[in-house]
Amino acid sequence: MASDRRCEHTQRQLSAAFDGEPTGAPAREHLDSCPRCSAFRLELGRLRAVLREDAAVPSGALERTTAAVMAAIPDASPIRHAPRPAGTAKRVGAVVIALAATAAALTASTAGAGADLADRLAAAQRRLTSFAAEVTVVEHGIAHTGRLEYHAPERFDLQLGDRRVVIADATAWYSGPDGASATVGRAPASRSWVAPAEVVLPVSAAVVRAGGPRVRHVVHDGEAAIAVTTTVAGAGPILNGLRPGPGWRPLHPTDRVELFLDPTWLTPLEVDVQAAGSVDRLRWAKRLGLPEHAGARITRIVLSGARHGTTPLGTAGPPPLPAPPPPAGAAVVDEGFRATDAATGLTPRWLPAGFTPYRFGTLPSQGGTPIAVATYTDGAAWISVRTIHTWRATRLFGIDGAPVRPLRLGSGVGYVTDDGNAVALHAPGWDSVVTGSVGTAELVAVAESLAEQPEAVPASWPEAAASTIGSLRQADPTALVPRAGRTSDAAVTTGAAITEIAVSRGTTTFTLSQARGDTTPRWPTGNETRPVTVRATTGSWSPDTGELVWTEGARLRRLQSDTLGLSDLLRVAADLRPAAS
């Protein structure tokens, strides 16, 4: 005990002396004989060196800060200013004046950008008919340069070094140093390749909801821009679209993405990826032999010299883009789409303004009648209705088992997927799914206008247990639910043994499963499972599987996400509240 007091006294003296305070000299004999105090003295210098040198300043941060502050000063409303000398305005300089004007214009044109950017991007998809830009992708210090051309709604040609991706109507192909592959018989708006509109106008990366990406006005490379901060998981379509084929460096789903958008067109100017700093991310990088430190910029994509087109395209569809055939020797897959002159399935009685029929056809189905495909476009955005008359599976058609929430459609029932990108319908004799690059509300309106009334799915189908957060107040009052504001679009399943809530909004994508009457700890089975404190109890976390498991109120609770790290999931867990509250 006496030794502890001696150590504390000595270390207090060392600390104060290290900061230049007058203090009595620590007893030399104690310092020489005490390893703890000796180590403390050594660490003082190491801590200071690291703290003063380590805080990485993001690339361009100082310039951005200065420019943003100076641009905002005219609106900063100082309480008292002496009259400005006549010559002062000139000394401020044209740059500041221009930035201020730009910022003011930007503020006016994008008021509430954080809240409505996704809607504005969706609207921009309705007016941008073509886009071309030079593209540079920098990774591992190597720059890959090339050119991107896009014609709405889904023609795409990206040449980047010795890689090339071409999408043109029913054909899509890739060629690169690793080989070539091609798809023929490609259905309109097929998701099997890059979604061109998502590269040019990255709607999903900019979906702003609670916990989603941050949006702000900035000055980027001396020009006004809109900056969206999200993660690799949230920016997947644009990152995959601009880094075609294999061979690119791996990115962790939680790595930070800075997406800079043109403030007028909302097309991308630059995409920066920075290494996240979580322990799990460090372990992941170590396993892969990646040497970067937290905050390091690991991928940079710049689009320059952009040209935008808004030429109305009418009903005839976009003008043909010269589409070279797939390279000889490419491995070819036939998706099976065959064009027809008219729709063979259900058609909507309502479409958003400007939408007209685009392409009709059929796709094969396993053992049943063909799937009827009807697509519509306004020359930029698209909507697809797929219908099958002999659906034999016992789950909803066209959504691959995605979680859904039920929705009243007229006098019938429809089901919206948790990401809001599809509306699935069922009725005796037909099943249908409505998808598109427009907003969920418009997809729902299109679904509601189909010629037939949909019904609830049979009780034996998994979607029969689909519910809403609000219904849990009676159905499962001890279930925990995400806080208000995140829940309106959640897909809820209330089964006999488990309640499952799926939330998918931008980067905030997770599933919360809660067993009924099951308190047996079943820890995750990942390789690096470890205990963590969650909601004031000890739970378990597996970075391999993205699972956070704990027992609370005699129920086993499990949060799983492929896109959120531990700290994010702990925040989600901490915000949960009982359904009955």
Partner: protein, 199 residues
């Protein structure tokens, strides 16, 4: 920490934008580092820096020109960070608890900076503020006390306590291994710190 030409500060206070810009540029780097260490996020720090400068611009007329400009500015910055964190104190405590578990799982070859940032995040707010103000800005206790709005002795005590905790965490690997299922210890509570502060 260097101090600007008093004439520049006066001109900025009189509405000279060019003078204010020179002040912004002069402190941009230490401001970014200071806020980064206070809030643990480089991008949040960037936004807070903008907020701090705008607050400073609005309040320049209140600056007493016989005082040190840098401590006045960094006190505004610290308050901006404090306001941002106060918005959801419960969340901050949860983050502290979450971060408290982190140092024990830092890979063996993780850079010291990463390890230290995790340990810094686990410090209580008063300890972290004091430690960052002294170490990152290089202030003595008197100036740091002015920035933090606490007595000089409190700064001294908090910096010492912060250093002891950081050194203990950094040396955690040298200690006997704890039981694999043992939950991480919570961070030292502010109350416990306050009891040992010298006034």
């Amino acid at each position: 920490m260097h101090e600007p030409d008093p004439l520049t500060v006066r001109r900025a206070a009189d509405g000279d934008a060019a003078a204010f810009e020179s002040l912004v540029r002069a402190y941009a780097a230490p401001m970014q580092r200071y806020l980064h260490h206070l809030v643990g996020d480089a991008h949040a720090a960037e936004e807070l820096a903008q907020e701090a400068y705008l607050r400073a611009y609005r309040r320049l007329h209140t600056f007493r020109h016989d005082a040190r400009f840098s401590t006045w500015l960094f006190r505004i910055a610290r308050n901006a960070a404090f306001d941002a964190r106060r918005g959801d104190q419960r969340r901050a405590r949860r983050e502290q608890r979450a971060a408290a578990a982190a140092p024990a799982f830092v890979p063996d070859q993780a850079p010291l900076g990463v390890e230290l940032n995790a340990a810094l995040a686990a410090l209580s707010r008063p300890l972290r503020d004091a430690m960052v103000t002294v170490e990152v800005l290089g202030y003595g206790y008197r100036d740091a006390a002015e920035v933090l709005g606490v007595p000089e002795g409190t700064v001294k005590s908090r910096v010492f306590t912060a250093r002891r905790q950081l050194v203990a965490w950094l040396h955690a690997d040298d200690a006997p291994a704890s039981a694999p299922n043992e939950p991480a210890s919570p961070p030292v509570h502010d109350v416990a710190v306050a009891a040992h502060e010298e006034r």
